[in-house]
Amino acid sequence: MGLYDIAFYIISAITVLAAVGVVAARNPVHAVLFLILAFFNAAGLMVLMGAEFLAMLLVVVYVGAVAVLFLFVVMMLDVDFVRLRQGFAQYLPAGLVGAIVLLVEMLVVTQAAKDIRQPMVAELRHPENVRAIGYELYTDYAFYFQACGIILLIAMIGAIVLTLRHHPNVRRQNIARQVGRRREDSMEIVSVKTGSGVEE
C-alpha cells in the first residue's frame, strides 16, 4: 500500500462521513457545511486521478457558488428542519433495510467484477488537463457540449418563466431613459415673484 492508496482511503472515508453528516446533522447550516466538506474531498479524489482542472472547477463552482447559495437559502428561509424530520425514525427501518439490500447487491456486483480490469481512464491526446478538455469538448464531444448548452438554456428559461414577475408598482431603472434625458425635458426655469408661489 503506497502513499497514493493511503491518501485515497483517507479522502474517501472523509467524503462518506461528510455525506452522512449532511443527512444526519440537526442544524441545517451544519448540513451545508458538511456538504462543502464532501465537495472538497471529492475534489481531492479528482486530484488523485490526475484531473486537476476538474478538481479546481469543482471547488470554484460547487463550493464557491452552489454551496454558498445553499447556505444563503438555508439561512434566509429558516426552514423548520425539526418538522421536516418528523417520521424520520418511522421510515428509518425501511430505509435501512433498503440500504442494506443495495449494499449487498453492490457487493455481489463488485465481487463478480473483481477480475475484470478495463482501463478506467481514457488515454489523453494532450497531457495538460485544460488543453485535453478543451480539445475533446470542441472536437469529438462537440455535439454533447452543445446539447449541454441547450439544457442549461432550458434551465434558464424555466427559472425565468417560473419566477420572473412584472410588478406594475415597482419602479425600475431604465438606463436608456436615464442616459437619453436632457435638461430641457425635465427642467424649466421660472422667475417667481416673492410671496406669490408658482402657478401650474
Binding site: F143, Q146, A147, L153, I154, V161
Partner: protein, 480 residues
C-alpha cells in the same frame, strides 16, 4: 474536414433547425413580449412542420452515424421524430389557445415545446449513453417547467416540483446505471457496448442495465416508477398533460427499444424478464388504480400507466415484430390520448374545466357531438374492435404470443378487460346519468383536434394502418 461537418450538420438538420429556430423565437419573444405569443406559436408549428418535411425528404436514406456516434439518422429515428413533431405541433396549438382563454399566454410555452421536441429528437436518434442521458434531460427539463407552467396554481407548482424531484432521482438512477455500464464495458456507444459485452462482467452490466431501465421506466411512467404520474397529470395544465401523455412516452419507448436491442442484445433473456415484471406491474397498477378515480385527468394518468404496460409487453417480446407492435401501439395510444385530453379542453362550466365524473354526467344531452367524440375515443382506448385501439393491442399481444410469452399475453388481455371498465364507466356517465347542467361554448381548436383524433381511431385508421404497419416494421427492422 469541412465537408464532413457540413454533411453531418445536414443529416442532423432537423435538430439544428429546431435549436436555432427555438433560440430565434426566444429572442423575438424576449424583445416583443407576450404580444407576439400567438405569432410565435404559429411560427413554432411551422418550424415543426418544416422539420417534418425535411425528415420526410430523408426518407429511405440509409442509416448515417453522426458526431462520432452520438446520434444517427435512420428509419427508426425518423419515425419517432415525425410522430414527436406532429404531436408537439398539435400540443402547441391546443396549449396556446387554451392559455389565451385562461389568461396564461406566454411566449416561452412554444419555445419550451420546441426545445422539448428537440430533446425527444435526440432521444429517438441517440446512439450512445451520453446522448441518451442528454436527450432525456433536455426533454425532462422542459417538461418540468411546462408542468409548473400555471405557476400561480398551487397544484400546478406542486406537480412541477414533484416531477422535478422524482425526475432528478430517476436521473440519478439512470446515471448510476450508465456509469456502471461504462465501468464494466469501457464504452458508451451502443454498438461499442455490444462488441464489448462478451468480455465484460455480465453481473455488473445487467445490474447497471437494471438501474438504467429504472430511469427509462420513470420516463414512460411504468410501474413501479409511475407514482408521479397521477399527481402530475392532475396538477399540470391540461394541454401540457396531453403532450406529456404522448410524445415523451413514444420517445422514451423508442430509446429503450434502441438501447436494449442495439447495445444489449446479448443480455436479451435478462432484460426481457425485467421488462416483463415492469410490464405486468404497470398493467396491474394502471388497470386497478384507475378503477377508483373520480378525476378524469388522474384516470387518464392510470390509463397511460396501463397502456405503457401493454406497450412494454410488445417490447418484452424482444423481436422486430415486437418493436413494430410497440411503435404501432404507441402511435395509436398517443393520438387517442391526445384526443381525450383535447376533449377535456373543449368546454367548461362557468370557466371551470370539466374534470370529474360528475362534470360529465349527462353530457350527451347538452353536447351530444362532444359526447360522441369522447365515446369513440374511449371505446378505442378500451380496445373495442374495429377501432384503432383494438389493433394496437392486437399487434402487441400477437408479438408476445409469437415470442412464446403466452401467459404474459393472457395477463395483458385480462387486465385490459379490467381497464376497459373505467372507460366504459365514463361513457355510461356521459350517456345515461342524470344531469343536464349547461356548459360554456365550444373551443373549436380543441374540438377539432378531438374530432380529428376520433376520426383517426375510427374510420381513418383503417386506411392508415396498412401504411403504418410496414412503415413501423421498416423502422423496427434497423434494430435487428
Amino acid at each position: 474536414m469541412m465537408d464532413v461537418l457540413v454533411q453531418q450538420l445536414f443529416f442532423a438538420g432537423a435538430e439544428v433547425w429546431l435549436a436555432v429556430m427555438a433560440m430565434v423565437l426566444l429572442v423575438v419573444g424576449a424583445f416583443v413580449g407576450n404580444r407576439a405569443t400567438a405569432a410565435i406559436s404559429y411560427a413554432s408549428v411551422l418550424v415543426l412542420a418544416a422539420a417534418v418535411a425535411f425528415i420526410i425528404g430523408l426518407n429511405g436514406h440509409p442509416r448515417v452515424s453522426l458526431f462520432g456516434g452520438a446520434i444517427s439518422t435512420d428509419a427508426l429515428a425518423n419515425f419517432g421524430r415525425i410522430m414527436v413533431f406532429v404531436t408537439a405541433a398539435l400540443a402547441i396549438v391546443l396549449g396556446d389557445r387554451w392559455m389565451k382563454r385562461v389568461g396564461l399566454q406566454k411566449f416561452e410555452y412554444p419555445v419550451l415545446m420546441l426545445l422539448a421536441a428537440l430533446g425527444m429528437s435526440v432521444m429517438v436518434s441517440a446512439n450512445s449513453l451520453i446522448s441518451l442521458y442528454l436527450g432525456i434531460e433536455m426533454q425532462s427539463l422542459a417538461l418540468y417547467v411546462l408542468a409548473a407552467f400555471s405557476r400561480d396554481n398551487p397544484k400546478s407548482s406542486e406537480a412541477g416540483l414533484k416531477y422535478f424531484v422524482l425526475g432528478a432521482l430517476s436521473s440519478g438512477l439512470l446515471l448510476y446505471g450508465i456509469s456502471l455500464i461504462y465501468g464494466f464495458t469501457g464504452q458508451v456507444g451502443f454498438a461499442e457496448i455490444a462488441n464489448a459485452l462478451p468480455t465484460s462482467s455480465k453481473v455488473g452490466v445487467v445490474f447497471g442495465l437494471v438501474f438504467m431501465l429504472a430511469g427509462l421506466a420513470f420516463k414512460v411512467s411504468a410501474a413501479p416508477f409511475h407514482m408521479w404520474t397521477p399527481d402530475v397529470y392532475e396538477g399540470a395544465p391540461t394541454p401540457v398533460v396531453a403532450f406529456f401523455s404522448s410524445a415523451p412516452k413514444l420517445a422514451a419507448m423508442i430509446l429503450t427499444a434502441r438501447v436494449l436491442t442495439e447495445g444489449f442484445a446479448l443480455a436479451t433473456p435478462e432484460w426481457q424478464q425485467v421488462l416483463i415484471v415492469i410490464a405486468v406491474l404497470s398493467m396491474i397498477f394502471g388497470s386497478f388504480g384507475g378503477l377508483v378515480q373520480g378525476n378524469i385527468k388522474r384516470l387518464l394518468a392510470y390509463s397511460s400507466i396501463a397502456n405503457m404496460g401493454f406497450a412494454l409487453v410488445g417490447l418484452a417480446a424482444g423481436t422486430a415484430a415486437g418493436v413494430q407492435s410497440v411503435l404501432i401501439y404507441m402511435v395509436i395510444y398517443m393520438l387517442t390520448s391526445l384526443g381525450l385530453f383535447a376533449g377535456l379542453l373543449v368546454t367548461a362550466r362557468q370557466g371551470r374545466p370539466l374534470e370529474s365524473f360528475e362534470d360529465f354526467a349527462g353530457l350527451a344531452k347538452v353536447r351530444p357531438g362532444l359526447a360522441l367524440v369522447m365515446t369513440l375515443l374511449l371505446f378505442s382506448a378500451a380496445g373495442i374492435p374495429p377501432l384503432a385501439g383494438f389493433w394496437g393491442k392486437f399487434f402487441v399481444f400477437k408479438a408476445a404470443l409469437d415470442a412464446g410469452l403466452v401467459w404474459l399475453a393472457v395477463i395483458g388481455v385480462v387486465l385490459s378487460v379490467i381497464a376497459a371498465f373505467y372507460y366504459l364507466k365514463l361513457i355510461k356517465v356521459m350517456w345515461f346519468d342524470e344531469g343536464d347542467r349547461p356548459v360554456d361554448g365550444i373551443a373549436w381548436d380543441a374540438g377539432l383536434v378531438a374530432l380529428a383524433m376520433a376520426l383517426f381511431v375510427g374510420p381513418i385508421s383503417w386506411f392508415v394502418l396498412p401504411v403504418l404497419e410496414p412503415w413501423a416494421l421498416r423502422a423496427a427492422a434497423i434494430l435487428f
